[in-house]
Symmetry: C2
Subunit: 470 residues, 2 copies
C-alpha cells in the first residue's frame, strides 16, 4: 500500500474483487506493451466491467489528481500503454462483446475491450468485412485500435481505423460519459467529436464503445508477386493497377532486394516465388466478387504492365494456399526481433514519389555512421508507409545504439518532409522526435487541445506530447 490509500479504498469500494489488483497481486502482464521494457509497478490495476465503472474510476482519479494509463491489448510499439511509477492502469479487457451487427446500416457496435479478431469473426459470420487488419489481431483490442488509429495491410482500399469509426462512446477525464454512437455515414451536426479521440493514444479520453463501419465481404481474391527494376516503376505500377482495377486494389506491399533476400534465405518456411536479385518486389492483392471476371482483369492488368515495361517478372498465385505462401514473404517480418537481433525498427511515411530516394539517403546516412550496418526496406508503399529495420552485425544487445540510430533516421525523415510515425503512433518512444514532423504551431495546437480536454493532465500523461504541469 502506498500513500494513495484513500484512493485505493474508494476504488475497491466501487469495483468487484476481480476488478482491482494492488501490490503483489498485480500481474506482470500489465507492466509493458509489446515493444517496451518492463515498466514500473503501477499503483493498481482497475478492470472495470462497464462504462459506468470507467466513469466512476475517472471521476475519482480526477478528484485525486491521479494519473491513469488506459490499456487495451498491449500490442503497441511505442510504449504508450506501459505504466509509469504510481499510475493507475485502466484495463478495458473485461469490456468485450459485439453488441450488435446492423445489416441494414452495415455497422457493428462493439465494446472497446473486444479483440480485433473477435470483431472480424463476428462481422464475417454476418456476411460483412471489418476491414482493418494487422498481425496482432488476436490480442489487440478495438479500443486500442481506435486510440492509436491502427493501419495494417488493407488501408489502401479501406482506410485506417479512423475511417471505420462512425460513432464512439468515450469517458472524459472528469468521468463525463460522451455518447456519440452515430450510425450514419454523413453527419455534419456541429464539430465531428469522434475525430478528437481517434489516434489520441489515450491522452484525451477513454474509449469504451464504438460503432464501426462494415464493408461488403469480398468473395474473390487475386494475388501476384511482381519484380521491378526501379522505385519509379513501383509507383507507376501502383497507379496502373489502381486505374485498371478501379476500386479493387486491396493491398500493395513493396519489398526492396535486401528485404527479399533476407526473408527468403533466413526465415524458415518462406519460399521465393521469383528469383532473388531484382531491385524491387511488389505483392499486390485484388479483392472482388466475381472470381472469373476479376481473374481476367487482374491478368490483363499484369500483362499490360509487362508490355509497358513496368514489371520485369511476375508470379500469380494459382490458389488461396499459394497466395498465403506469397504473403509469408511479408509476414516474415514478425521473425526479425528474434532472428536479426538487435535491430531498430521504423514506421515512417513519406510522399510516395520520394520513398525511393529516401531509402537511398537513409542507407547512406546509416553507413556513414556505422559502416557495417545492414538495412532492409519494405512496407505499405501504396499508403505512403515505409517500414525499415537497421541491424548492426556483431553488436551485442547491450551495446546497440538505438537512440543514435533513431536520431539519424528521423533526421533523414525530416529532410524528406515525412512523418516519424505512419501507423504505430508516438507514445513515449517517438516523443523526443515529434518536432521532426510537426511544426511549433501544430505542437502548440496539440497542447491546447490536451489542456482543454484534460486540464488536470491525468490521462496517459507524458505520452505523445508534454504539457506544462497544471
Amino acid at each position: 500500500m502506498t500513500a494513495n490509500t484513500p484512493l485505493l479504498a474508494e476504488l475497491a469500494a466501487l469495483l468487484d474483487p476481480a476488478g482491482l489488483q494492488t501490490g503483489d497481486a498485480i500481474e506482470v502482464r500489465f507492466r509493458k506493451d509489446w515493444y517496451a521494457p518492463l515498466g514500473a509497478p503501477p499503483l493498481a490495476v482497475a478492470r472495470p466491467r462497464s462504462t459506468e465503472e470507467v466513469s466512476a474510476i475517472l471521476a475519482l482519479c480526477h478528484r485525486h489528481g491521479q494519473p491513469v494509463v488506459p490499456q487495451g491489448g498491449l500490442t503497441g510499439l511505442a510504449a504508450g500503454a506501459t505504466p509509469h511509477a504510481g499510475e493507475l492502469v485502466l484495463s478495458l479487457e473485461r469490456m468485450r462483446r459485439v453488441e450488435e451487427i446492423d445489416s441494414q446500416s452495415g455497422t457493428m457496435t462493439v465494446l472497446a475491450g473486444t479483440t480485433l479478431q473477435a470483431a472480424q469473426d463476428a462481422a464475417r459470420e454476418a456476411g460483412w468485412l471489418l476491414a482493418v487488419d494487422l498481425g496482432a489481431r488476436g490480442s489487440c483490442q478495438i479500443g486500442g485500435n481506435i486510440a492509436t488509429n491502427a493501419g495494417g495491410n488493407r488501408v489502401i482500399r479501406y482506410g485506417m481505423m479512423r475511417d471505420q469509426v462512425l460513432g464512439l462512446e468515450v469517458v472524459l477525464a472528469d468521468g463525463t460519459v460522451l455518447t456519440s454512437l452515430n450510425k450514419m455515414l454523413k453527419n455534419n451536426a456541429g464539430y465531428d467529436v469522434r475525430q478528437y479521440f481517434v489516434g489520441s493514444e489515450g491522452t484525451l479520453g477513454v474509449i469504451t464503445r464504438a460503432v464501426l463501419r462494415l464493408a461488403p465481404l469480398p468473395s474473390s481474391t487475386q494475388t501476384a508477386l511482381c519484380a521491378l527494376a526501379s522505385f519509379e516503376d513501383v509507383v507507376k505500377l501502383l497507379r496502373h493497377a489502381q486505374r485498371a482495377l478501379s476500386g479493387r486494389v486491396s493491398a500493395f506491399e513493396a519489398m526492396w532486394a535486401d528485404y527479399y533476400t533476407l526473408v527468403t534465405t533466413r526465415v524458415p518456411g518462406v519460399r521465393a516465388p521469383l528469383p532473388a536479385g531484382h531491385p524491387f518486389y511488389v505483392l499486390v492483392d485484388m479483392q472482388g466478387s466475381d472470381a472469373d471476371a476479376d481473374g481476367a482483369a487482374f491478368e490483363r492488368m499484369l500483362e499490360d504492365a509487362m508490355t509497358e515495361g513496368l514489371i520485369v517478372d511476375a508470379a500469380i498465385a494459382a490458389s488461396g494456399k499459394e497466395a498465403e505462401s506469397f504473403w509469408k514473404l511479408r509476414d516474415a517480418v514478425a521473425e526479425f526481433p528474434q532472428m536479426w537481433a538487435p535491430n531498430a525498427a521504423f514506421d515512417v511515411s513519406l510522399p510516395i514519389g520520394r520513398i525511393g530516394a529516401f531509402a537511398d539517403a537513409l542507407r547512406t546516412a546509416m553507413l556513414a555512421q556505422w559502416p557495417g550496418a545492414e538495412l532492409v526496406n519494405f512496407g505499405h508503399v501504396g499508403d505512403s508507409n515505409l517500414h525499415f529495420s537497421v541491424h548492426l552485425p556483431g553488436v551485442a544487445a547491450a551495446d546497440f545504439p538505438e537512440a543514435a540510430i533513431d536520431a539519424v533516421a528521423y533526421e533523414v525523415v525530416c529532410q524528406f518532409a515525412g512523418s516519424i510515425s505512419a501507423e504505430h503512433g508516438i507514445g513515449v518512444h517517438k516523443k523526443p522526435f515529434l518536432h521532426h514532423s510537426r511544426s511549433p504551431a501544430e505542437l502548440a495546437l496539440m497542447r491546447a487541445i490536451k489542456q482543454a480536454l484534460d486540464p488536470k493532465g491525468i490521462l496517459n500523461p507524458g505520452r505523445v506530447i508534454d504539457v506544462p504541469s497544471p
Copy 2:
C-alpha cells in the same frame, strides 16, 4: 465610417486598394449566402491575396476583438457566411490557384479560394478525379467545401470532403499560420490536427490552402434507374449492388413516388424513363475502367436483383446522353425554390434501415399539423442522407410557417436518432435545433474546443454553437 476607424485604417494600410471595401463601396454579393435573406452591412470586406495577408488581418482583428466572417463561394444553405452587423467579411476569393498536381502522390495542392470546378478540371486534365462533386461546383470554393465538409453525389464511393483532405494550411484566430501540408495517406505523428478544421464552418480557423487526395479517373460509367416496391427493397438493392460490384458503386440516389411524379410532371425537360406509380425509384451509377466488363457486371447485377424480386422494373442508360437525362430526375431539385415556392428544404441523416419509417412518420406529423401539406422525399440514401421538402399549397411566402415546420421535422429526426444535418452544416439556421442531434456532453465538448482555439470568440461568432462571451 464607423466607430472602428482605427481598425479600418490599419486594414487599409496592409491591403492593396482592391483588397478592402468599406461603406457604400461594399458589394451587395458579400451580404448573403445562397439560402439566406440579405444580411446587415458588414464593417468592411477584406479580400486578401496571400496567407500572410490573412494572418495579418486576423492578428489585427484579434487585437481589436473584431468579429470576422470568413467567406468562400457563398453557396451554403445554412446562412453560416452571411455577415452580421459590424462583422468584417474575410473573402478568400482572390486566393485561387491550383499550385501543384503531384502525379506520384496522387495529390493536388490548391489555394482555398479556388472553385471546386476549377480544381476538378485541373485534376481531370492531369488524368485524375477530384471526387467531391455538388451542384454549386462552379461557384463554391475549396476552402468552403472543407470548412463545411461538403458531401454530394459521390460520397458512397469516395467519402466526404473530410476524406479528400490530406493536408491543410490554416490561419488561427490570433493570426498564427498553422502549416500542415501533409501528402501522406498515413500520418500518426500526434493528434490529427486537420480534423479540427474540417466541418468547423469557419469558427476555429481560416483555411487558406489544402492538399487534396485524388482518385484514379474512371473511364467507364454505367447508369440505371430502378423501380422498387418498398423501402426495405431499396436497402437490399444497395447491399446487393455493393457486393456484386465490389468497390465500384459510385452513386445510389433514391426517390420516393411523390418526388418522381413531381419532377416528371412539373419540371420542363425531365422525362420519365420508367412509368410513374411505383413506390420507390433508385438511380444507381457504377464507375470503372473497362466499359465491356463493367457493362456485363452491371447488367448481371440488375438481372439478379430482378430475379430475386428486389426490383420491379429497370432502365439502363444506353449512352452517356441518356445517363444525363436520368440524372436530370435528381438534379431537378434545383428548380424547387422557384417552381414549388414556398417550401422548407431539409438535409437529414438517419440509420439507413430507418429512413423508410422516418419518411412515413414525418408525413404523418406534417399532415397532423398542416392537412394540406405536400412532401417529397429523395436523397443520397446509400450514404444515410435523406433530403425532403415540405410545401403548403396556397400559402403565401409571407405566411409560410418555416420555423414551425422545422420544429416538427427536427422533433421526428430526434425520435429516430438521426442528425439534423447530413451535409449542409449548422450555420445559423439549424443552431436552435442542434440539441436534437447532440447530447449535452457533446455540446460541452464543442464549446471547450471553440474556447481553446478561439478564446476571444472572433471567428464566425454565433454560428454552429453559442459560447459564453469571453
